[in-house]
């Protein structure tokens, strides 16, 4: 991942959020407080604006800046959570693709995603099965790691686009798998058993973030 790809990724997320804002809000309306679409929209509009202003040194910079902007513009649960995820990803990529350093390959990006999850769980303390963004993130990360190691599908090791595609599919599966779950974290947990039968908005936006990664890396190839 180089600067251009990092930028394009954030822009692609922004576009996807813009297109699916209402769906995210309606999902949040069923088991939350009906602001997830607006929150994501506000955050990624701010993030793209912030990126347009500065000249980042590398993809790490782009993503750290994105994370910081999310933290300072979103509010809600998703703001600090996604904010720290992007900051952790960006920090792990620090140096890569900057100056004469080579861009981050799939393995390095897998480590970055892994640092993102650590940060997400450190803050939110959610595990798989709690019906949160973690339910989409964890399978996406695993699929990405596997593909990056060349273990999946017999594909060639380190194919970034293939890894991103596998991650997007896994994230979407994880997202759909939240529907039958009873929430144990976030607002949906207040509904008790009534949270069952609804897809989690945060898992949905996580899937959208991984799908955007797959899209932009596919376009690069």
């Amino acid at each position: 991942m180089d600067i251009a790809l990092a930028r394009t990724w954030v822009q692609a997320i922004a576009a996807a959020v813009d297109a699916q804002k209402d769906q995210l809000t309606q999902l949040d309306s069923a088991i939350g407080d009906a602001d997830h679409g607006a929150n994501m929209q506000r955050g990624f509009v701010a993030a793209t604006a912030a990126l347009a202003e500065q000249e980042p040194a590398g993809p790490g910079d782009v993503l750290v800046k994105t994370g910081s902007t999310l933290i300072s513009s979103v509010g809600g649960a998703s703001g600090p959570l996604y904010g720290s995820v992007f900051r952790a990803i960006g920090k792990t990529l620090a140096g890569a693709g900057a100056g004469s350093e080579p861009a981050a390959d799939a393995r390095r990006f897998a480590d970055a995603l892994s640092a993102g999850l650590e940060s997400l769980q450190r803050l939110g303390a959610a595990a798989v099965g709690d019906k949160t963004m973690v339910d989409a993130y964890v399978p996406a990360l695993e699929a990405f790691q596997q593909a990056a190691e060349g273990a999946g599908d017999g594909g060639k090791a380190g194919d970034f686009a293939a890894a991103a595609r596998a991650a997007a599919e896994a994230a979407e599966e994880g997202m759909r798998a939240t529907t039958p779950l009873q929430a144990r974290k976030g607002r949906a947990s207040y509904l008790g058993t009534r949270s069952v039968g609804h897809q989690d908005p945060g898992a949905t936006s996580t899937a959208l973030i991984f799908r955007a990664l797959a899209d932009v890396t596919a376009a690069v190839r």
Binding site: D35, R42, G76, S189
Partner: protein, 332 residues
């Protein structure tokens, strides 16, 4: 969706401008989205600060003023403020004596205030945080997000605010704030959902003869759906939920809040208060102080929340202490 707004995007900005114009006692920093007292800081005083998503008015901005909050930081509708806002509020209110952050227990609020607290500490501002979690409709377990903060927020802000006004130090103010929270329990029912400007339609649809029982203040559905019943029965069940969680004895004195969620006429709130007063009298529980009105609302939701605080003499004295804010005003 019909609302008296210009656009969902400008709602908060416009409302803050309106608050600033309406209340000479408030100073509103529109850029930072921070509301402080226009009287400025009182040297050496601990600052009590609260904030959270908008849509619960008069909470929190309407409680800024003598004897209550020093600053409030309102987020977007039902969205906690961002850390920058909380930090700006802390900077604006800190006199060097430290700040108490009154935070309603929601993941978003907790995380954003936590980040802000770290930033503030980095700047040398001493911070204590009290988490309000009074809603007995939510099961409290170590595996979940825990109980929601609702009506008790008003009690914490009023009593901690009075203590800070009297010159107590941060540790003391924080300790009392936590005691007030521990002594308080709430339960709410909704007759309708509410409509956030961003969503444009109600969070849930209720048939003409059903209510949601055990709701919060963000338009989310409650724990269960029931047929509407006479106020007396609805109150009895709510009090049962509260008193099962925190039994009170005949010696206990309470502060009671009968709080409208935004769309319920005051006339009905008085009917509810009458049932609360009767039911508590039947159980031998004394109501030492009470408030009936719209204080911690959920936009246009029709419904009511009950909050009981078991109050000792010190708390009652602090409750009675002068307060001069847009939404609460008594004494002195």
């Amino acid at each position: 969706m019909k609302k008296l707004i210009n656009s969902p995007e400008t709602l908060l900005e416009d409302a803050l401008a309106g608050m600033a114009a309406a209340h000479p006692g408030l100073r509103v920093n529109a850029g930072a989205r921070v509301i402080t007292r226009s009287s400025g800081k009182s040297p050496g005083k601990v600052a009590v600060i609260s904030g959270g998503g908008s849509g619960h008015e008069p909470l929190h901005g309407g409680f800024v003023g003598l004897g209550m909050l020093d600053a409030a930081c309102p987020g977007e509708v039902f969205t906690s403020p961002v850390p920058d806002q909380v930090l700006a509020a802390a900077r604006a209110a800190d006199t060097g004596a430290g700040v108490l952050l009154v935070v309603k227990n929601y993941t978003g609020d907790v995380l954003n205030f936590q980040v802000a607290a770290e930033l503030a500490e980095d700047e040398g501002i001493t911070v204590e945080t009290v988490l309000v979690n009074d809603d007995v409709a939510v099961e409290d377990s170590t595996h979940t997000a825990g109980r929601r903060g609702t009506g008790a927020t008003l009690f914490v802000e009023k009593i901690a605010g009075a203590l800070a006004e009297q010159g107590a130090d941060l540790a003391t103010v924080a300790k009392t704030a936590r005691e007030v929270n521990s002594a308080s329990r709430s339960f709410a029912v909704a007759l309708t959902s509410c409509t956030t400007p961003a969503a444009g339609r109600p969070g849930f649809e209720l048939p003409e003869d059903e209510i949601e029982v055990g709701v919060g203040i963000h338009g989310e559905p409650g724990r269960r759906r029931e047929r509407i019943r006479p106020a007396k029965e609805i109150v009895a069940d709510a009090l049962d939920a509260i008193l099962t969680d925190q039994p009170l004895s005949a010696d206990d004195e309470t502060i009671v809040l009968v709080n409208g969620l935004g769309g319920t006429p005051l006339l009905e709130l008085y009917v509810v208060y009458n049932e609360v007063a009767t039911a508590l009298a039947d159980r031998g529980i004394r109501i030492a102080r009470r408030l009936v009105g719209n204080y911690v609302t959920s936009l246009d939701m029709a419904g009511v929340s009950l909050t009981l605080c078991r109050a000792d003499a010190a708390m009652l004295a602090l409750w009675d202490a002068p307060v001069d804010t847009p939404a609460l005003h008594w004494g002195g």
